[in-house]
């Protein structure tokens, strides 16, 4: 377990040089589509990778994000998130390649299988008549796998366009994707990537070009803990515009 247990601990750690400022500048360089599927009501974009945690240096057991700032060329709501590869669906065959489930972590001194939103990202643009899809998943309560209702893909959905998996009644998240498939369509092509979303923070840039900031230490009281090789992305809600997003992660090295 981590041992930074007070504000003074964090200050001392910084004073001893165990910190870094990770600057990022990413671009969604072309407009995305409004939807991935017919059950979606608002657009979601995913930026390129904003940060990948490096190998742990000597004396560091993990990385604590104590502050995040974001500046964007357009106004909307953002989520900084750690994403887990839950698999992919090539709709042409169709063929599903399985990934990982949401991780099991220690929460409240219990080992829990976690859950969250599952994002569908178009990684290869969908063709003009892509057909429909179903996803088989394990829900937030760990019930036996269930399959979503068949939902139509949106024609010609562009790369980086995202949606979340349309869950069955009563469900609010998934633990695992066990399979996915496509039906119908006319010579359909395209690839969908499934991502598990662990949220680290949400921001609102209320005016284009404005700066948004989140102090995780003071506001979350639980600064997100990253391990080596963890990958962070930014999800953009409610807009399809091309945009750039710049910012800084202030990170303190945790200790045993």
């Amino acid at each position: 377990m981590a041992s930074l247990r007070s504000v003074n601990d964090y200050v001392a750690r910084i004073g001893n040089g165990y910190f870094t400022e990770a600057h990022f500048s990413v671009e969604v360089d072309a407009a995305t589509s409004s939807t991935v599927h017919s059950g979606q009501l608002f657009p979601i974009q995913k930026t390129p990778l904003v940060y990948k945690a490096p190998s742990l240096p000597s004396g560091v057991t993990g990385y604590r994000i104590t502050n995040t700032s974001i500046h964007s060329s357009s106004q909307t709501t953002f989520m900084l998130a750690r994403l887990f590869d839950m698999g992919s669906l090539d709709i042409s065959t169709p063929s599903f390649t399985d990934g990982s489930a949401f991780p099991t972590v220690t929460e409240g001194n219990a080992s829990n299988a976690t859950y969250g939103i599952c994002l569908m990202e178009v990684t290869t643009a969908l063709s003009g008549t892509p057909g429909s899809f179903t996803v088989t998943y394990v829900d937030q309560d760990g019930n036996s796998s269930e399959t979503t209702a068949s939902t139509a893909f949106a024609a010609s959905s562009a790369a980086r366009t995202c949606a979340w998996v349309p869950l069955n009644a009563g469900d609010v998240g998934v633990r695992d994707i066990t399979s996915a498939t496509r039906t119908g369509g006319t010579t359909p092509t395209g690839v969908i990537k499934f991502w598990g979303v662990e949220p680290l923070s949400m921001f609102a840039v209320v005016t284009a070009g404005q700066y948004a900031n989140r102090n995780h230490l003071m506001m979350n009281i639980a600064p997100p803990l990253l391990a080596a090789n963890d990958e962070l992305y930014i999800l953009v809600f409610g807009s399809t515009s091309a945009r750039n997003v710049h910012g800084t992660l202030f990170i303190v090295g945790d200790q045993a």
């Binding site: 247990r5 601990d9 009501l41 937030q140 609010v172 998240g173 949400m202 003071m218 009281i221 809600f237």
Partner: protein, 259 residues
């Protein structure tokens, strides 16, 4: 050893110790929301909708009583107010048979070392099964915030409200009443189908969304009321002031509360 949040004023350091010792919760949640039936002045005035599906809270391990939530954010794409809270079913009514089933009472919480019998100012009548009825009068008999029994409210609902439409009850409580502790009876003047449940909320966050922005409300978080949530608790999310179909997305951080 982290201090117990229920018995002492929480501090930043206490939260850090609790998280470091036992591990915090970080969750995202979301789903599609449908349109709802607009409210009338006779049934809450503001249109409300209950997100279908509640957010479960995992079981804590040894030495942990439950979780408090210093951070909870919700967002939807349409301008509205988002309300999230720990939800309790106070009672339900089967419309076709006009049969009432009792639920639970609002809980007793220990806040800053003081045992508090809570009452729900945020109380809603929710059509968890779509109702077939022509401008029905829903009569709810309840126990008020002071423990007095036998008061009633009687909102008049719109005809055949859609599933998951919620009606805000607080404006219709008896004169002088501000909240409900429990529901002791429900009946409806007419109707042939549907189920109406009365839910009371202990609020965790209230956020105001404009069409492209989010106001992340932490004001009810770490330095506000500390409701210690356990496995049996579930978090419900309501869309308020809008009847338009919309998607929901949210996240929360939960800190373990040591025993």
């Amino acid at each position: 050893m982290a201090p117990n949040f229920a018995s002492s004023t929480p501090t930043i350091n206490a939260g850090l110790v609790a998280e470091a010792q036992n591990g915090a919760l970080h969750r995202s949640f979301g789903r599609r929301g449908s349109s709802s039936t607009a409210a009338l002045a006779t049934c809450g005035s503001v249109s409300c909708y209950r997100m279908p599906g509640t957010v479960p809270i995992p079981s804590p391990g040894s030495g942990v009583a439950g979780f408090v939530f210093p951070t909870m954010n919700t967002w939807t794409e349409d301008p509205c107010i988002m309300l999230a809270g720990i939800e309790y079913e106070l009672g339900s009514l089967t419309v076709s048979t006009n049969t009432f089933s009792a639920g639970s009472s609002m809980p007793t919480e220990t806040i800053r070392g003081v045992s508090v019998q809570t009452a729900a100012a945020f109380c809603f009548a929710v059509c968890t099964v779509a109702v077939t009825a022509t401008t029905p009068t829903l009569t709810i008999t309840y126990t008020d915030q002071d423990g007095n029994t036998g008061n009633s409210c009687a909102p008049v609902l719109p005809t055949s409200p859609l599933i998951d439409t919620a009606f805000f009850l607080q404006p219709h409580l008896a004169n002088g009443d501000t909240a409900m502790r429990a529901v002791t009876n429900m009946s409806i003047s007419t109707g042939s189908a549907g189920t109406i449940r009365v839910f009371g909320l202990l609020p965790l966050t209230i956020s105001h969304n404009t069409s492209s922005q989010m106001f992340a409300s932490d004001m009810l978080g770490f330095f506000g009321p500390d409701y210690i949530s356990t496995t049996s608790d579930k978090i419900a999310v309501y869309r308020v002031t809008s009847a338009t179909a919309s998607d929901f997305i949210g996240m929360y951080t939960g800190l373990p509360d040591p025993t």
